[in-house]
């Protein structure tokens, strides 16, 4: 809903709540009159240990864990400041996409506080929060090109404004983070797989295995990683017993192939972005999502953006992975435009940023946050 009265510019203090996957998080963020953001507190509790034995996030376990600690996390976010609920202007809670059980815990908690305190509620699209994070960290406002890479998502979008996104490309099968996790699993590495694969790759030879570069040269900006993962499996099966050096070389080769594919897809995305936004389009690539933590990917993107004349913006890693500061910030940005939501807002397990572009076959249908 949009308030009929256009809001006066003023400082906004927002409590953010994030419970969409396996991190329970709360944060307090200020948006100044000048539109700049400042994090006052930002607490995150990972449920990794509760899910490890299952080799992935178990939705019911996640939902139970969120309920157990969310109110304590909110209290902690306040304790780290001198503030109380009396000081805040609004609450922002992730309302999707994500695991419905967890989303409901965060959203209903926020609704109750909003009702009891007469505070506006803003229901946040978790992906939009990732997309707007550079506004908080680098004062970088749209438009820009965004690569969103996580365990549940791999997509590239033109971010045109708050609530205004145009998808330029998406994965046809696995998300990149998912491909890392599955590669780790088939090589017998620990969970979560992404950091494990990266660790192994550090000492490996990226050229030993000639793995395919999926989608290379295609005129669209879509991604595909399932075939690459399968190629890793075949290479591993051919070797039979895997020595440590084999695992390291496979990880390095996989990571190099994935990086090449992402760079190639982004070159196409840049062309599509410039075509859409016009020749004066701001040449900025923002990378967000958990996979942005991968140093090899960052390096390859650094080189690629340099060559293409783009500025590369990657928020600090704790703000690339799931957190509530980005939720609070997205809430503040929406509130500044007069957007608030009702107490009847329904959480949305699936909630694409670009609702106009049709979903592509297989894209993200299996991921926890697709």
């Amino acid at each position: 809903m949009i308030n009929p009265v256009s809001p006066m510019p003023r400082e906004l203090l927002v409590l953010g709540i994030e419970t969409s996957c396996d991190e329970t998080a709360a944060a307090l963020v200020v948006r100044g009159i000048d539109g700049r953001g400042r994090i006052l507190s930002n607490v995150v509790r990972s449920q990794l240990d509760q899910h490890r034995a299952y080799g992935g996030v178990v939705p019911e376990i996640a939902a139970r864990a969120h309920l157990e600690i969310l109110d304590k996390m909110i209290a902690q976010a306040f304790r780290q400041t001198s503030l109380t609920l009396d000081s805040i202007d609004a609450l922002a809670a992730t309302a999707g996409p994500g695991l419905i059980g967890g989303l409901l815990v965060g959203l209903v908690t926020a609704k109750a506080i909003s009702l009891a305190r007469g505070l506006p509620l803003i229901a946040i699209n978790h992906l939009e929060a990732h997309a707007l994070t550079p506004g908080l960290t680098d004062n970088m406002k749209p438009p820009y090109l965004l690569l969103l890479v996580s365990g549940g998502h791999t997509q590239v979008l033109a971010v045109e404004g708050v609530g205004k996104f145009h998808r330029l490309g998406t994965t046809l099968d696995d998300a990149l983070g998912e491909a890392f996790d599955k590669t780790a699993k088939l090589l017998g590495l620990g969970y979560p797989g992404g950091p494990e694969v990266e660790k192994q790759a550090k000492t490996g030879d990226p050229k030993r295995f000639a793995l395919p570069r999926p989608m290379l040269g295609r005129p669209d900006a879509n991604f595909s990683f399932a075939g690459l993962k399968t190629a890793v499996r075949h290479a591993a099966q051919k070797l039979g017993t895997l020595a440590a050096v084999d695992v390291a070389d496979l990880c390095a080769s996989f990571q190099a192939a994935a990086g090449d594919s992402v760079a190639d897809r982004l070159r196409v995305a840049m062309a599509l972005y410039e075509e859409r936004m016009g020749p004066t389009a701001k040449r900025v690539l923002v990378v967000s999502g958990g996979v942005a933590a991968n140093a090899a990917l960052r390096q390859s993107l650094q080189a690629m953006t340099g060559m293409q004349g783009y500025q590369l913006v990657i928020p600090p890693i704790n703000l690339c992975t799931d957190n509530a500061a980005m939720i609070a910030w997205a809430g503040a940005e929406r509130l500044a435009l007069g957007h608030t939501d009702g107490l009847d807002f329904a959480a949305r397990p699936r909630w694409p940023l670009d609702e106009v572009s049709a979903p592509l076959l297989g894209s993200g249908r299996l991921g926890a946050k697709a």
Partner: protein
């Protein structure tokens, strides 16, 4: 002693306010809607409307009452998330009851009308909800809802029939017929009535008066998640 009570455990969403009227009389205001889904969207607007119709501010509340389950896992969490949010925002004392105890009081009230042809006095009231796969969530009450004869548990009707041996049973709820059958098969005396009874926040608000305050706002799931750890 104004109390806000709400329940979202099963196929109904309800909220109730228990407050003193201007003449000092106790009043109940309530909203009760049966729904399979949508509790998370309905609950807070329902409470907002009740509060505003009663011309109450949240600062006027003195107590929050919520059901902890058993119920659908998500349903139990919706009520408890709201209760935890209210507690954080208002610092109010909280009481909790099981969904089955609230159903018991509702059933007792209905049985007292005499329309169901069963005599409650001297019988045990078994509140049973079909939990699928041949099991039921059950809690059993004698004369007092505050002191159940058998604590809430997930069990087979046959097990429960053994535990209730020798008592005359009135079984209510969606799993009541399953229990009555098992009791009868074991040679006992049981009748199943009110198969559609669900918790109602009205009875929760009434029971909240005598219920002890608690710090624990934890769900009573009575069942683990289905997930199995990976083979090592």
């Amino acid at each position: 002693m104004t109390t806000l009570a709400f329940d979202t455990c099963f196929g109904a969403c309800s909220a109730a306010l228990r407050l003193r009227g201007v003449a000092g009389d106790w009043q109940l205001r309530e909203d009760y809607r049966e729904m399979a889904t949508g509790h998370a969207e309905a609950l807070l607007p329902m409470i907002a409307a009740l509060m505003s119709a009663a011309d109450l501010r949240f600062a006027d509340l003195r107590k929050i009452a919520v059901t902890i389950g058993p119920g659908s896992f998500t349903g139990a969490r919706i009520g408890l998330s709201a209760a935890r949010g209210f507690r954080l925002a208002l610092g109010l004392p909280v009481v909790t009851l099981t969904s089955l105890a609230v159903m018991a009081m509702r059933a007792d009230t209905l049985l007292d009308t005499g329309h169901f042809g069963v005599t409650r006095a001297g019988a045990a009231l078994a509140v049973c909800v079909d939990a699928r796969a041949g099991r039921i969530y059950a809690e059993v009450f004698g004369d007092s809802i505050a002191e159940p004869l058998l604590a809430p548990a997930l069990r087979t009707p046959a097990d429960l029939a053994v535990a209730l041996h020798g008592r005359r049973i009135i079984a209510v709820g969606s799993g009541g017929a399953m229990l009555a059958e098992a009791v009868t098969a074991a040679g006992g005396e049981a009748v199943a009535v009110l198969p559609g009874v669900l918790p109602h926040a009205r009875h929760l608000a009434l029971l909240a008066d005598a219920a002890p305050l608690t710090e624990q706002l934890d769900p009573l799931y009575l069942r683990d998640t289905d997930a199995k750890p990976m083979p090592v």
